[in-house]
Symmetry: none
């Protein structure tokens, strides 16, 4: 049965690629209202294709761009139901002159398909639909029940998604979720992303005098807000890159030796070459890879206060501000972390100034799934069968809000099946996707759905 | 004779104020090249006015803004010659939305003249010229010979002044110097400034990654430049407001008990009311008055790095910069202080970043004159006669580089006749000058020039 499906994909490869190119040709740039019609066009493409395959499909209106919802429930009541999430909107193409071919006229060069969205996320969404088609056109049914949720606002922060996920809880509810909107650690290196960091932040403003003061007249009488802010910031992370806010690490599970081994096995990026820093630094007791992948971080994203122009202005400024965000790991609650940060700041605030803390509204918890969860193990096996290589398990420092939202609302396991490669240039000129990964990725999905069918859920 | 002159000022008060307003209406902001024509306009105003009064006047070109030079030598060869220094350029007006009236449309409210430059220094410069006019139009001559030097670059560090003062040594040479670019300790409290602080500064730039990094991908692998800068700054002054740079206080003479008494006698400003801070802070062991007047200071005037916009941008920024200036007291050498600051910064700079220190070019030593010098005593008497109050003798935290330069090049006594008040908001929105001080200040000058005429020099 599996072979039949695979053969179908091989036989219909050219036609399916043409269809993908049609999808990629639609400039569904979500940030730009000039592309309103293209957004609608892309949503229509998906709705039509899903109906062709045999899904019940519709577009759900939002305050922004429509969300394409579809479902297939003919696999039988004993078959598991998957919620498949993806997005059909794409990033803007600027700077357009840095593209070697038109971003919306897909072109194959050296085995890569060049087009905006080829990797993020239209290409990966299309792979799923093509695999569903292959099942339907060969064995006449899908091995699993499927709910499809493809939004058009991912590149603008999924503004309306959380509300829809809540409102449509009953309709969207599934046994587990699959998302293909990420990548592998290297081309042809099957990778399971089993952890993402959570996220929170605060903004600290130190208010001193009610106007900028002449440093000659008042220097020696008032606290300098920039100096006060510097003392506050310096008290929050030490030179060993250890965050010195009381309680910050509470509940963080120690990094097990197995996980350290998993991380060590990942061929990491050359951080110095990629960033231009004279040397890497990371939390005492942890490698840079361990810290970026699996330990919480604290970064000052911006600071400002007083005079920033050329030359000198001898003032004591009225205020100084720092913007801070943290990446969190499992065990850390964003609300509590914000509270701890605020408490710390107020405790160390020196006299003579007033300190305000503004809390970031969009916080999220970290996501982690057990690498030996049956759904994850089946995914790893499917990868290995399709790519002919052992699957690596990694955690990443980034955050994908939708992952936390789905976990939060639906309380189901989430499997991140990414097929992108580090060379795909997401969000940049010359975005591309290797056709090799396209073929092997679909092969992986054929294996996966077949295995899941026979898999005992939970 | 003195009365005639005073009467003239009273009779022509309105017309003279109109003329001052014309001068203040010219936005001669020296930092901004967009105001090039305004700078020229202001210099022309002065040249024309000085010629009207009977001076030989000219504009000396510099590499930057022109310097207005004028001389009057009809007082006779036995009369002393004074070098009068002032500046016609003004500070920028940002943040413009905090002004209650247009900074360049002078407006009188509650007895104060609101305009950028009303106190610093156009208003005070104008008072001198109006007094010269009054002498010329009444008794037909000035009681003293005068050389006028009014520059257009004071607010950008008097970039070309030192060179001109050296080049024109013969032309500018005088018996003593008078400067009105300072203030009184309180409104209507005649004040002789017998000491000023020196000045120096550095700019610290911390360079990290060669481009802004995604905090999810690289947080944990690289040092955050803002955090590194915060640690550096926090290591330079502690919460007791003691500067913790090794050697910084070397050579500073201890504050004598007599001087502490002099300072205590000065009815100081209500710092909290004037600045809006919740409480004053000053160097441990010194009062706020002692610290501002007679102890060295260290201020961060500005800081910037990374994202400063609305909301959140999750980056590790490529760099962070702090602008620092120090006010120095007698015994401290600016060059050595810069060296100590740089050494300290490089010593505490953490690994993983590169730290650059740029030294401020315009440094100056502190200035101090004997309070019982005859020229000073005459000034004190003139103040007392005009304001009806005993004159106080104070040291101040400000620095006037030109004071040190004139002392250095011309080796003549310098009399600082300041008429500003603590509420003038120099360099800030809503700069103003009390009309009361304007009138009494001119009266003081009438007394002073009359006394000096009869005074034995040296």
């Amino acid at each position: 049965m599996q072979e039949q499906v695979s053969n179908y994909l091989t036989e219909h490869r050219e036609r399916l690629l043409d269809k993908l190119n049609t999808f990629l040709s639609i400039p569904s740039v979500s940030t730009d209202s000039a592309h309103q019609a293209d957004i609608k066009h892309a949503a229509n493409f998906l709705e039509t294709y899903l109906k062709e395959i045999g899904f019940e499909a519709e577009q759900l209106d939002t305050q922004g761009h429509p969300l394409v919802y579809a479902q297939y429930n003919q696999a039988g009541s004993d078959a598991p139901t998957v919620l498949f999430y993806g997005h059909y909107d794409v990033q803007p193409v600027d700077p357009i002159d840095q593209w070697d071919s038109d971003p919306f006229q897909p072109e194959v060069r050296d085995g890569r398909l060049y087009a905006r969205g080829s990797s993020d996320d239209k290409g990966q969404v299309f792979m799923h639909l093509a695999v569903f088609e292959a099942f339907m056109k060969t064995i006449g049914k899908l091995p699993i029940n499927v709910k499809v949720c493809i939004e058009g606002e991912e590149e603008i922060g999924s503004e309306n998604l959380y509300q829809i996920l809540q409102e449509k809880k009953e309709q969207f509810q599934a046994d587990f979720c699959v998302i293909s909107d990420s990548g592998m650690i290297a081309k042809n290196q099957p990778t399971i992303l089993y952890g993402l960091k959570g996220f929170t932040g605060i903004e600290i403003t130190v208010d001193g005098p009610d106007h900028d003061l002449h440093s000659g007249m008042y220097g020696g009488a008032v606290r300098n807000p920039i100096m006060a802010l510097s003392h506050i910031l310096a008290s929050m992370k030490n030179e060993d890159e250890v965050i010195t806010v009381a309680g910050f690490y509470d509940g963080v599970e120690p990094l097990s030796s197995e996980e350290r081994k998993l991380i060590a096995e990942v061929e990491g990026e050359d951080y110095e070459a990629a960033t231009g820093v004279p040397q890497t630094v990371s939390e005492k007791g942890y490698t840079a890879k361990e810290h970026t992948m699996a330990r919480p971080t604290f970064e000052v994203n911006g600071v400002f206060g007083g005079y920033q122009g050329e030359g000198t202005k001898t003032i004591i400024p009225t205020s100084a501000t720092a913007k801070i965000t943290c990446r969190l790991v499992p065990g850390q609650d964003p609300d509590r972390i914000q509270q701890l940060l605020e408490q710390h700041v107020q405790q160390v605030a020196p006299k003579g100034v007033t300190v305000h803390v503004k809390k970031e509204k969009l916080s999220s918890k970290a996501y982690k799934v057990e690498p030996n969860h049956p759904l994850i193990k089946k995914a790893a096996e499917s990868y290995t069968e399709a790519f002919g290589k052992e699957t690596l398990f990694i955690r990443m420092g980034g955050s994908i809000p939708v992952v936390e939202w789905i976990e939060d609302i639906y309380q189901i396991p989430i499997v991140l099946l990414g097929f992108g490669t580090p060379e795909d240039r997401l969000h940049s000129p010359n975005e591309s996707f290797p056709l090799d990964s396209y073929d092997k990725g679909m092969e992986t999905l054929v294996h996966y759905w077949t295995k899941i069918q026979h898999n005992e859920m939970k």
